[in-house]
Amino acid sequence: MIELRDVHKSFGSKHVLRGVNLSAAKGESVVIIGGSGTGKSVLLKCVLGLVKHDTGLIALEGQDVLQAERDAFLARFGMLFQGGALFDSMSVWQNVAFRLLRGSLKRPVEEAREIAIEKLRRVGLKPDVADLFPAELSGGMQKRVSLARAIAAQPDVIFFDEPTTGLDPIMSGVINDLIREIVVEMGATAMTITHDMSSVRAIADRVAMLHDGVIKWAGPVAEMDSADDPYLRQFISGSAEGPIEAVR
């Protein structure tokens, strides 16, 4: 469904992506792992067109994303941002229903609110949260609201950018389970970037390890622990010794 072929991206003299090859089949959950600053977020932003890649091909169902009609293309995506990226000037339900209140997916306000409350319930939040503002919520609740917003318009593809960053282990587990359940339930294709190995094991069908701007290893999550790729092994074990330089 999503295919990246020899994707390059530089910022000035910094060559972040050096020929990334990766694909995600329809309904598959691919998790991209890698150290901080290896270009994982840039990769997702390139797919969404938030950052324009320099060379290579990024295609959704065979169509080059740069050629796609922008609104129709983006309407197929949902994204959970690392920090939630909720709009602070809007109430929770307005955040969740943002897409349903304007543009091509516009619905009557009451209907949009009902859908928002239903999505909030789906991510484990009670309806009385709907009229609160994001600043009044805890970090875990903000992540849930962001997740509800990502799924509100029933997207075909959902991106999760560091979904458990800043959360305690229990809340991380809850969010991981929610993501897995929702992705399976919706039949959506998911791409997640994380360096949280518990997320990887909970969410992934397939894992790809990004290092030095290229995919060093990719394979089913079940084969991850037995893989002999030195980069992957060092990352999984969290060891300072290995081919990945650790700055101390």
């Binding site: 932003k45 969404l48 067109g49 938030l50 922008r70 609104d71 983006l74 309407a75 995506f77 949902g78 994204m79 941002f81 690392q82 920090g83 990226a85 909720l86 709009f87 602070d88 943002f98 897409r99 304007r102 543009g103 091509s104 997916l105 917003r149």
Partner: protein, 261 residues
């Protein structure tokens, strides 16, 4: 040799950076203008911004105008007394307020209040990925954030200027009648007799241009904000400074255009 060339190179670098910035602002301005007339239009956002920019700036602009009108009356009276021209106070206060001080001081006060607020808000949205989130939600940030603010400021400022002019003239009237011994009826008559429609409309046109500048600078610097609190702080400062300088420069150009052509 390096001692001679280094300052020249530094001047060259600064000049190039300034020209590049002017180019970027010009492109941003062109993009904003092109989006002003193309749907979708976010009327609720536009109305919200009219309240934020226009209505909530009234106290600041009103107080500035009131004190400026009063001080202007005192200055003109003191200056006029040197050649027995104290009677010109009402007309000069009125003309000074509506042609120059109303729009310029109103524009500068709104630049301080609004350009800073816009840059800080949009800059924070940039830093916290809210702008990226807007894009992924199929919403063009230029249409959703910039156009409503620019439109609201351009429409609100002329009205603010008109209200400020009235309050400024009233400030001059208060000082003139209570401190300088003017007859209230004569003061009003003098003001009305000397003021022309073009004096008022030229000031309001200036207000519209200043409103456009204030919102454009706030949005531009917010959208191009650097990372972290420092980046947002710098964007806010740059928005106020650039809006203020551009208002003063535009005021000179508009005055040349309106009153010397």
């Amino acid at each position: 040799m390096n001692l001679v060339l280094s300052p020249v190179a530094a001047i060259g670098r600064s000049t190039l950076a300034m020209l590049a910035a002017i180019g970027r602002i010009a492109i941003y301005c062109g993009q904003t203008l092109s989006h002003l007339f193309r749907p979708p239009f976010y009327f609720r956002e536009i109305w919200g911004q009219i309240v934020q920019i226009g209505w909530l700036s009234l106290p600041v602009v009103g107080l500035t105008a009131l004190f400026t009108g009063g001080a202007l009356a005192l200055q003109i009276y003191a200056g006029g007394a040197r050649f027995n021209a104290e009677s010109v106070v009402p007309s000069i206060v009125a003309i000074g307020m509506v042609r120059e001080l109303g729009p310029v001081l109103g524009g500068l006060m709104v630049a301080g209040r609004v350009a800073a607020a816009i840059a800080a808000e949009i800059g924070t949205m940039r830093v916290t990925e809210q702008i990226d989130a807007l894009v992924t939600l199929s919403t063009n940030p230029m249409k959703y954030l910039t156009v409503p603010r620019v439109l609201a400021a351009t429409l609100s400022l002329p009205l603010l200027v008109a209200v400020g002019d009235s309050i400024g003239i009233f400030g001059g009237y208060l000082v003139g009648t209570t401190r300088l011994g003017f007859n209230p009826a004569n003061y009003v008559q003098n003001t009305v007799d000397f003021l022309e429609v073009w004096d008022v409309t030229s000031g309001m046109i200036k207000g519209a241009v200043f409103g456009f500048i204030v919102a454009l600078m706030g949005c531009y610097h917010g959208m191009n904000s650097g990372k972290g609190a420092r980046g947002v702080g710098k964007a806010t400062t740059n928005a106020v400074v650039s809006a203020s300088i551009m208002i003063l420069a535009a005021n000179y150009l508009l005055t040349e255009l309106f009153f010397t052509a």
